[in-house]
Symmetry: C2
Subunit: 91 residues, 2 copies
């Protein structure tokens, strides 16, 4: 899947990412992938739920997958594992 | 589904809930439901990933669902919406 229909959720307010999803969906994308890692996973779920309940009632969650990513950071020798989530929505 | 094979993830350390999952799975439950709300959603994903990657490599995530729950708190007039997740795993 191309990155053009992907919303990466980070530490900004939920509504920033909701707006990103809405913009993609209104611009003709029928499918959007909401991705997050670590503590932002909860926010990613909020983004999908708020988009669906407040803005697009016909939005459907078609697939959710979770995984683990291995990150190497410059200030630590050991790579750290971080959980990730991908939520695929369509309308 | 009965509550007896459900692990509710909250604010305790990840390994507490991993141990709860392992105990259920080793005691004969073939299916365990990991549930969480709000900020604990990220921890729930960690619990499943750590259980699978570090302890039970044959663990399978068979279903993930997300939703919104309406909570009424005694110190607030307005009910608040909180996101939730349910992760069903089997071995």
């Amino acid at each position: 899947m191309s990155r053009s229909n992907t919303v990466f959720v980070g530490r900004k307010p939920v509504l920033n990412y909701v707006l990103a999803c809405l913009t993609l969906l209104k611009s003709g994308e029928s499918e959007v992938l909401v991705k997050a890692r670590g503590r932002s996973i909860s926010t990613a779920v909020d983004v999908v739920e708020v988009t669906k309940n407040r803005f697009l009632n016909d939005l459907k969650v078609v697939d959710i997958s979770i995984g683990t990513e291995r990150l190497t950071s410059s200030d630590r020798d050991q790579p750290t594992n971080v959980s990730s989530i991908e939520i695929k929505v369509t309308r």
